[in-house]
Subunit: 138 residues, 2 copies
DNA sequence: TCCTATGCTAGACAATATCTAAGTCGGCTG
DNA sequence: CAGCCGACTTAGATATTGTCTAGCATAGGA
């Protein structure tokens, strides 16, 4: 989205072809990509982009809060561009598919203070696990 | 604990010095260790134990349901020996400390069917994030 | 005690992520 | 609108984590 590029520019990001392509790859598909997948898609448009730049750019987007890093059981982290609406994840234990979901209720309020051990709890993130329609049918 | 060793023996595990040491390391400290940390502690007692054996043994313990694999933001997976009481995790975003916690309520029931997208939901795992007493004081 | 399948080892390999040194370029200044 | 500077990018080396292989060792049953 040009929204994203706009916000980044306003935050003093120097706009380069590489950063633009990475941001566009993420904003274009609302799915969870690994760094390598982002690199592959970015390289399709800008063949000489290096892996290091993709990693750097993803790291910056995460630091700016524009993208969320999601760690599942798979080895590689994935990057979720849906950072502006707080949500949780539903993961297929068979094929690894991920969906963003919006449960009701607030898990933080379900953690009694006796279970907080002096921590200042900021947020909670729920990972639902199960089988996706394709995998439970198979 | 010999509890754990007992259960493993009953399940037909061939008991070797290496497996005993790995199981003891996990059962001894109720903390979340990475595979490398398990290897280091195991090697303190049995110097020639190899990394492959530690990985294999941890994988078997996970498959047997005696240990849970926990993936946090850190790169390496950690192994949680508290597998027999379903629980969630409270993580310090600064220092990475992890506590097992038992919230009230059932997150699975908070996911309406309109948010399940045809998935068969089996379980939910909550990661609470915040600052531990030491880090919020600093 | 002996045998055999299972387990162990070192080290190679694979996958993911970060670092480094040198070259490039966005965008401010004049 | 040209020059400059520091932020950005690059290729490739390196680090970290995890898996595989081939041959040796051994637990535990006969």
């Amino acid at each position: 989205m040009s929204d994203l590029l706009e916000r980044l520019r306003r935050r003093g990001w120097r706009m380069t072809a590489q950063r633009r392509v990475v941001a566009e790859v993420l904003a274009g598909e609302h799915v969870h990509l690994t760094a390598d997948e982002v690199h592959a898609r970015a390289a399709a448009r800008l063949p000489e982009i290096s892996r290091a730049t993709v990693y750097n750019t993803l790291g910056e987007l995460v630091a700016l809060g524009e993208v969320i890093e999601v760690t599942t059981v798979k080895r590689a982290k994935t990057y979720d561009p849906n950072a502006h609406r707080h949500h949780h994840h539903l993961v297929c234990v068979r094929c690894g598919a991920v969906r963003d979901v919006y449960p009701t209720g607030d898990p933080v309020s379900d953690l009694p203070s006796s279970e907080r051990f002096g921590f200042t709890v900021q947020e909670a993130e729920i990972t639902y696990r199960g089988l996706c329609p394709g995998c439970s049918a198979g």
